[in-house]
């Protein structure tokens, strides 16, 4: 089993809560593997808590020959971000809008918490579901506070509770309440408006959020920031989220699971990002993931547990150069790693210099410019490896002391193992079905 997705690593951002990811991965080990299939997963007792279920849902727009969504069956688990991704016009938005009945299905059934909502009052249903769209659609004649208060007001919350909620939500999305509460939408930048859009959708603390390309119309740098912030917020809130995008990289970054959709919203593959990267089930998925899927897969492997790190010959200032050289030739390396008193790696010293008997000081050889810490992704390790003098990536513990090195063979092994595991997973699925 590949190591749990660690999005802080994927996004090279502050560390996220590992325990959560690990928990999800354990679940994935025990339940997902048996229950998920490429067509959306059949329900079974061992399944993780199912929040949303689409059952053979179909949408045929009037006057069209082909249905926009043809018999889609899909489960969304509680607390996960499920990303719907696929080529333009494949029916992602239609699928999403079926869930809050912005569009009425022409067939099939929709369940929320195992309650059939196919015939429920749509307005009441929508108040339970946060909805964020690319164009945001803030109410221009209302202040930010009024915008955010929309659903709480409809639900009849009292004034104080609403006021408190507004400030709380503005803080959650990283906007200073005192500054922004009284502003109008036109007085916001695109990124700020999108944050308010998210805050408004969170208004009455819905358990479910539907997001249709929420960061699609924002410049790449701001988008990256909003994605990271949103992931961090989701870390606490644990909403059940269906997220639509046409960008596979956004899907990989945001998704706990990804559903790759083809024409008419047919599921081509639904699984964790790492498994999809390791084992695209067919050419459609492979083409859609595009170039570099192997490299992207390295984001999901980390430098600990699974990577059996190798020792590397080291020395300290004051060690006899020839002894050190002997250690290096024993290990069959051209370099030896010079550590300081705290065992922090500081210099790469060439074995040739040692053999000539040169005294080693803290200025010998060349600086260790690249190192990664335990817990970094193999992607980061690869980057460091590429710029490292000795073509290996030194790994340090949290206190900075030397732990071992990552070599190219590690990456190679990790990737092949991930692929093998993914293939075995799919083969066992086939065998059982």
């Amino acid at each position: 089993m590949a190591r749990p997705p660690d999005r802080s690593a994927r996004t090279a951002l502050p560390t996220r809560d590992r325990t959560r990811d690990r928990r999800m991965s354990e679940n994935a080990d025990t339940t997902l593997e048996q229950n998920e299939s490429t067509t959306g997963g059949a329900p079974s007792p061992g399944d993780r808590l199912r929040k949303i279920r689409l059952e053979e849902v179909e949408k045929r727009y009037p006057g069209t020959k082909q249905p926009a969504v043809a018999s889609l069956t899909l489960d969304v688990h509680e607390g996960e971000i499920l990303v719907l991704v696929g080529p333009s016009g494949c029916g992602k938005s239609t699928t999403l809008r079926l869930i809050n009945r912005m569009i009425e299905p022409t067939g099939g059934r929709i369940f929320l918490d195992d309650e059939d909502v196919t015939k429920a009052n749509p307005d009441k249903l929508r108040r339970r579901i946060g909805y964020v769209i690319q164009q945001i659609g803030l109410f221009p004649h209302q202040t930010i506070a009024q915008n955010i208060a929309t659903v709480p007001k409809m639900l009849g919350w009292d004034k104080n509770r609403i006021t408190g909620r507004i400030d709380e939500l503005l803080s959650v999305v990283g906007l200073d309440p005192d500054t922004y509460r009284g502003r109008y939408p036109k007085e916001l930048s695109g990124g700020q408006a999108q944050r308010v859009g998210v805050a408004r959708a969170l208004g009455a603390d819905p358990e479910i959020m539907l997001m249709d390309e929420p960061f699609g119309a924002i410049d790449p740098i701001t988008r990256d920031r909003l994605q990271n912030e949103f992931l961090r917020v989701q870390e606490d809130l644990r909403k059940t989220i269906v997220f639509v995008t046409h960008d596979i990289d956004e899907a990989i970054k945001m998704g706990d699971r990804i559903a790759i959709l083809g024409e008419q919203s047919v599921i081509r593959q639904v699984d964790t990002p790492e498994r999809i990267l390791a084992f695209p089930v067919d050419d459609f998925v492979r083409d859609f993931i595009g170039e570099g899927s192997t490299l992207k897969g390295l984001h999901f492997e980390t430098v600990d547990e699974h990577v059996k790190l190798e020792p590397y010959p080291t020395m300290h200032v004051g060690d006899t150069p020839t002894d050190a050289a002997a250690r290096a030739s024993e290990a069959n390396t051209d370099w030896i790693l010079l550590l300081d008193e705290q065992d922090h790696p500081i210099r790469w010293v060439a074995v040739g210099d040692l053999e000539r008997g040169e005294a080693v000081t803290a200025e010998s050889g060349s600086e260790v410019a690249a190192k990664v810490s335990l817990g970094a992704t193999l992607f980061e390790a690869l980057e460091q490896m590429l710029i490292s003098e000795a073509a290996v990536s030194p790994v340090v513990r949290d206190d900075g002391s030397f732990y071992g090195v990552v070599r190219l063979t590690h990456l190679n092994r990790a990737i092949r193992r991930a692929r093998l595991e993914a293939r075995e997973h799919y083969e066992s699925l086939e065998a059982t079905s």
Partner: protein, 219 residues
């Protein structure tokens, strides 16, 4: 110069009479503008998303506006007799088009993403209309109301020809006595006070508009 002095003499000789006539004129205008606004806005809301009815009602309202005013006023005499009534009916028909057209275009101009998000948050159609669509269309609707009120103030001066009140009486009275003393002064009185009434009314409506829109809607 002499003209102006004698005109000032003329109006300062009969301030109460002039004010009363202006008030009569204003009453006709207000009745027409208020009723045409209610009618046209409701009609606009109804036809906006119904293409056939929308085209039909807009062309009909357009046709009313092309009927020569005197003829339109006269058309109502056989039905309601003479006096202010035929004038009010005729003016009502004239006042429809600007308000109706602006209501429809105002509603059209509400961004679909805004309506989509309103619906997506669980607003029913009435709520969407009252809290989102009408407030957002309001500045455009009010622009239509203001145009209608100006048209109405101006054309209401013809009411006198079908036996109605208003500042038209000064104009007509002056014209029929043209050349006699005070005839031009009388025409000027009717004209100037009609224009003044129009300006005041527009100012009132502009103020009203300002108080019924938020800062978020203003440029």
């Amino acid at each position: 110069m002499d003209g102006i002095i004698s005109w000032i003499d003329y109006i300062s000789g009969r301030p109460d009479e002039i004010l009363e006539t202006t008030w009569d004129h204003a009453k006709i205008t207000l009745i027409v503008v208020v009723s045409a606004t209610v009618f046209s806005v409701l009609l606009g809301l109804f036809v906006q998303s119904r293409p056939t009815l929308r085209a039909l009602s807009l062309s009909l309202a357009g046709i009313f506006l092309t009927i020569p005013s005197l003829a339109l006023f006269a058309i109502f005499i056989p039905i309601v007799g003479i006096g202010n009534e035929p004038a009010i009916y005729a003016l009502f028909l004239y006042a429809i088009l600007p308000i109706l057209r602006n209501t429809v275009t105002g509603l059209d101009s509400v961004p679909s993403a805004v309506v989509e998000s309103a619906k997506g948050m669980g607003m029913n159609t009435t709520r969407q209309l009252l809290q989102i669509r009408i407030p957002l269309a309001w500045p455009v609707i009010m622009a239509g109301v203001r145009i209608s009120s100006l048209i109405t103030v101006g054309i209401a001066a013809i009411a006198v020809l079908v036996g109605g009140d208003g500042l038209g009486t000064y104009i007509q009275g002056g014209l029929t006595r043209l050349g006699l003393p005070n005839s031009l002064e009388s025409v000027w009185t009717g004209t100037v006070f009609t224009v003044l009434l129009g300006l005041v009314l527009d100012l009132v409506l502009a103020t009203f508009q300002r108080f019924t829109t938020t800062k978020g809607q203003r440029l």
